[in-house]
């Protein structure tokens, strides 16, 4: 049994066979354009109404030596007519542009599935670089697969020979040839990609022509080739009515901030330093100066966060974006933002750690750093997005919480959802909740105190430079509880430490409760947080559809946690916390709810959970027989 088996619908006479879902993995050299190829396939499918999930998996080296295993770049796309929440465990079609691509990815393809291989690249030299002792196309190692061998490079060149491009440029179109083949296999139209090419290479007519022709040639080749299995199609998914678009996690994050700034009637300021995999947020926001956005590429991570603190002091919606090592550098400054009680958002697109770690791979190992990575008792709000599209919602939410509660907020996403994309039912501005910044007015100058707090949220007001009568000084030294002047009074310090903690705790009154998916009580509760939602949700659904009823809660709010958290834990006999780290949320839960026993399931490979491994684990927890795959 395989969870992601292609389920075939009955054949319509002569029509392409309809599949419920399919997983395609495009892999090649990092210079082969696989990310673009995969994106084109997923975008086209989304526009046909399929639900999709994507997973780009690329090396840290920009141009690793050609043909080497560490230069392999892949893009996995899962499309379906049912709900799709993960890029899929099991690949149905692997497009391998060279031996290294085949070598490093064959393990994710089950026997019986399809391989499309560019035979031109299976030279002795490339085989050697990939570490093959014999040519897998010639020995029996691929006997269990449907192998489609095509001289893709040669065919591409032949189809565009007369355009007048040099060899190198011609070779660049071979990804389009491969894409054309896959488009045919799954009955996709070429129009979207053709339009895309026309736009992308606006001033290079020859390049447009070459790519369009290669695409078409690949499509026709597949159509006439007898070796290819019949064409399939994936019918549109049943999705909620509305207007949709494809969105990538990092863009969704950027757009969430744009929306928040407009809603709050503030200018948006981003201070940032380039770092993988967060830089795309900087790239995206730097395109949008028309909304008054200022993006400041700073000299280092510290200047990134500090410039944002300056902008926050001066009255902008201020954010800084980074990934793990960058958050470590920003720690001291986040402490300053927290003691000065200025509103700002720090985005950490988590990657594999520690140190430089695995820059292009995903992990959830910055939770403890976000909660505790500062000197002193220094609580901030920590929230996490859980899908590419809801990065929009949580960026918006982070801004709302920062502005209404006057505190820094750390927003965690991760490399997996940041680079993944999915269809998004567009939220229009009118659907978004209001954001009310706590701006202090000049007319209140008379009785205003810098650190006076409202009784419910315990937040102070925001007095921005330029407002007459509200001139004041803030800083990193401990503050008097009312005037904000420097105070070394022992009781005052204790009061301030406690009130800063209480202020964050009270945010629980302004966030939603946890909702349990699946069984509302029973033997097993699965607990997750952040970017693992797709895998956990799919695996739990699978369990519930096939017999065993288990419950599932997912944390988007890590500090403070939802008010009903303990109530949820009470309802289950066993609690299993699944994370892509050594057990950071489990550690937090153990200290906050010591009367419960939190079991752990962890994966630390720079990769998301597969559905199968989760299902196996859940069954083991329930005392079921292991499933034989």
């Amino acid at each position: 049994m395989a969870v992601d088996d292609i389920k075939t619908a009955p054949r319509n006479n002569g029509e392409p066979e309809a599949l419920e879902r399919v997983v395609i993995l495009f892999v090649g050299d990092s210079g082969d354009g696989m990310q673009l190829t995969g994106t084109q396939f997923s975008d086209t499918s989304a526009m046909l109404g399929n639900d999709i999930a994507t997973f780009p998996n690329y090396p840290a080296e920009i141009r690793a030596p050609q043909g080497s295993v560490y230069g392999v770049s892949g893009f996995q796309v899962h499309i379906g007519q049912t709900e799709i929440s993960t890029p899929g465990d099991d690949v149905d079609v692997l497009v391998a542009m060279n031996p290294a691509a085949l070598k490093t990815n064959l393990h994710s393809v089950s026997p019986g599935k399809t391989l499309i291989i560019d035979t031109d690249s299976f030279t002795k030299k490339n085989l050697g670089k990939a570490g093959y002792e014999s040519n897998p196309l010639e020995d029996d190692s691929l006997d269990n697969y449907k192998v489609i061998q095509a001289p893709i490079t040669t065919l591409t060149r032949t189809s565009i020979l007369d355009i007048g491009l040099d060899n190198k440029s011609m070779n660049r179109s071979k990804n389009m040839f491969a894409l054309g083949m896959v488009f045919w296999m799954f009955s996709r139209p070429l129009t979207h990609t053709e339009r895309f090419l026309e736009n992308k290479f606006k001033n290079k007519p020859k390049v447009i022509e070459a790519n369009k022709r290669a695409l078409k040639a690949g499509y026709n080749y597949a159509d006439t080739l007898e070796l290819l299995p019949s064409a399939h199609t994936i019918l549109p998914a049943k999705m909620k009515p509305g207007k949709y678009r494809i969105i990538m996690g990092n863009s969704a994050t950027a757009w969430g901030f744009l929306a928040a700034a407009e809603k709050a009637n503030l200018d948006l300021f981003l201070g940032s330093y380039p770092i993988t995999p967060a830089s795309d947020i900087l790239h995206e926001l730097s395109k949008h100066q028309h909304f008054g956005v200022k993006t400041f590429q700073a000299e280092d991570e510290i200047a990134g966060v500090c410039s944002a603190i300056g902008a926050a002091f001066a009255g902008d919606l201020a954010i800084t974006t980074t990934s793990g090592p960058g958050l470590a550098l920003k720690g001291e400054a986040v402490g300053l933002a927290l003691i000065t009680e200025l509103p700002m958002v720090i985005v950490d697109v988590q990657r594999g750690g520690p140190s430089t770690g695995l820059p292009t791979k995903t992990e959830q190992s910055d939770l403890l750093q976000s909660l505790h990575g500062r000197n002193g008792d220094s609580p901030v709000i920590v929230i996490a997005a859980s899908t590419p599209a809801n990065c929009f919602d949580y960026a918006y939410e982070a801004s709302r919480l920062a502005l209404e509660h006057m505190t820094p907020v750390i927003l965690l996403t991760d490399g997996y959802i940041a680079n993944g994309s999915e269809p998004w039912k567009i939220k229009e501005m009118s659907e978004l909740s209001p954001i009310t910044p706590r701006l202090e007015k000049a007319e209140n100058a008379e009785d205003w105190q810098v650190y006076a707090r409202d009784t419910e949220k315990l937040a102070r007001n925001w007095a921005i430079p330029g407002t007459p009568g509200l001139e004041h000084r803030i800083g990193g030294l401990e503050k008097d509880k009312l005037t904000g002047n420097v105070s070394y009074v022992p009781d005052n310090h204790e009061y301030m430490v406690k009130i800063r903690a209480e202020k964050i705790k009270r945010v629980e009154n302004y966030i939603p409760d946890l909702t349990i998916e699946g069984a509302q009580e029973g033997d097993l509760l699965v607990v997750g947080w952040g970017g693992t939602y797709g895998s956990l949700h799919t695996a739990v659904n699978y369990m519930n559809e096939t017999g065993d009823k288990i419950g599932y809660v997912h944390f988007n709010y890590l500090n403070p946690m939802p008010k009903n958290t303990e109530e949820v834990f009470k309802k289950f006999k066993k609690i299993l916390v699944c994370e892509l780290n050594m057990g950071q949320l489990a550690a937090v839960l153990r200290s906050r709810y010591p009367e419960y026993n939190f079991l752990k399931y962890n994966k630390i490979q720079g990769l998301p959970f597969t559905i199968m491994e989760l299902v196996q684990k859940f069954n083991q927890m329930l005392g079921n027989e292991p499933i034989i795959i």
Binding site: K243, Y244, A303, T467, E471, R473, G475
Partner: protein, 334 residues
């Protein structure tokens, strides 16, 4: 709006000033408080951002907006303030440890970008607040708590560092001349771009009299050369010494000796774009050059950001975020 009329008292906060008695920091504070009313800027538009160190307590003593931030980072915070609201008059208060050591990176980059703000660099060649370690501007051999046998690290010269980072405005002033200091602060604020003012600030506790050879009233006429744009570089008790260029070196000559007349003396051109001579002047030790050494108009970061944004706003099809959300390829699910 009428220019508000303030006196220096309006610029002082109610906080008790806590520097050591006799510290030059008092002179700088008072000079700033006297300079601000001369600028015709409303008080609510002044922002003072400091880092960490003795000097960085400064904002607490000003009745303006201010932030006492973290060590070395004031230029980055101030850049954010200025970008967010270009109408503010932004001042960075920093010391030699703050801006030349832990914050060296931010210092050179704010200068390079030419953000329109003023940096007052309190250079006392020592760490005061941490009680007396050598700093990046301390001379070799200086005995301090952390260099009991003498400092082994050669110093930075703030002027050279600023010039290397393409400073458009650099001035130097001794810590004991409030009148001249006030005038320099006024000029610095009026300059559109990053202004760096190095104050030779005496720390009476940990590095007393380190500038004595330059600043003491008995020697200063011969030890200091005050430059003025368009004027010959003449100094000395008898106003008879001057600077000339000898090959690639600056040389002190005496007017009336060896046939030298006033016409032979170099005329100061603070506005020369090429900073070669400004660098030489900033490095000169005898005499030590005071006043505005360099003042060259240039486009600021804020100017560029504003111009670019105006251009983008003119051509955009996005009037609100909603337009963006609905842009590009979308499809309808019934």
């Amino acid at each position: 709006m009428e220019n508000p009329k303030y006196t220096f008292k309006d610029m002082a906060s109610d906080q008790e000033v806590r520097w050591c008695p006799g510290c030059d920091d008092y002179v700088i504070l008072r000079s700033v408080q006297k300079a601000l009313p001369e600028l015709g800027i409303s008080r609510e538009n002044f922002v003072f951002i400091s880092g960490i160190g003795c000097s960085s307590r400064f904002p607490y003593y000003m009745n303006t907006y201010g932030m006492h931030s973290i060590h070395g980072r004031a230029p980055a915070i101030a850049t954010g303030v200025k970008l967010a609201n270009p109408d503010l008059s932004v001042w960075v208060i920093t010391g030699d440890g703050d801006s030349m050591a832990i914050g060296g990176n931010h210092f050179i980059h704010v200068v390079r970008r030419n953000v329109d703000l003023n940096i007052i660099l309190f250079n006392n060649e020592i760490y005061g607040l941490t009680k007396g370690q050598f700093s990046p501007t301390s001379s070799v051999g200086l005995r301090t708590k952390s260099s009991p046998y003498g400092n082994t690290q050669p110093p930075f010269h703030p002027g050279s560092l600023a010039m290397g980072a393409q400073a458009r405005f650099f001035a130097r002033v001794p810590g004991n001349v409030p009148k001249e200091m006030t005038a320099l602060f006024v000029e610095a604020e009026k300059f559109h771009g990053t202004s760096v003012i190095e104050v030779l600030q005496n720390c009476v506790i940990f590095n007393d009299a380190v500038f004595e050879g330059v600043t003491h009233k008995d020697v200063r006429a011969d030890a200091q050369l005050w430059v003025e744009h368009g004027k010959p570089m003449i100094f000395g008790k008898d106003k008879n010494k001057g600077l000339v260029l000898n090959g690639l070196k600056l040389e002190t000559v005496t007017i009336g000796e060896n046939g030298i007349t006033e016409d032979d003396i170099l005329v100061h051109d603070a506005e020369e774009v090429d900073n070669t001579l400004h660098l030489m002047l900033s490095k000169l030790q005898t005499p030590t050059v005071m006043g505005v050494i360099r003042s060259v108009k240039d486009v600021t970061l804020g100017d560029r950001v504003a111009a670019q944004m105006a251009e983008v706003k003119k051509t955009t099809k996005f009037k609100s975020v909603n337009d963006l959300l609905l842009s590009g390829e979308t499809w309808e699910v019934e």
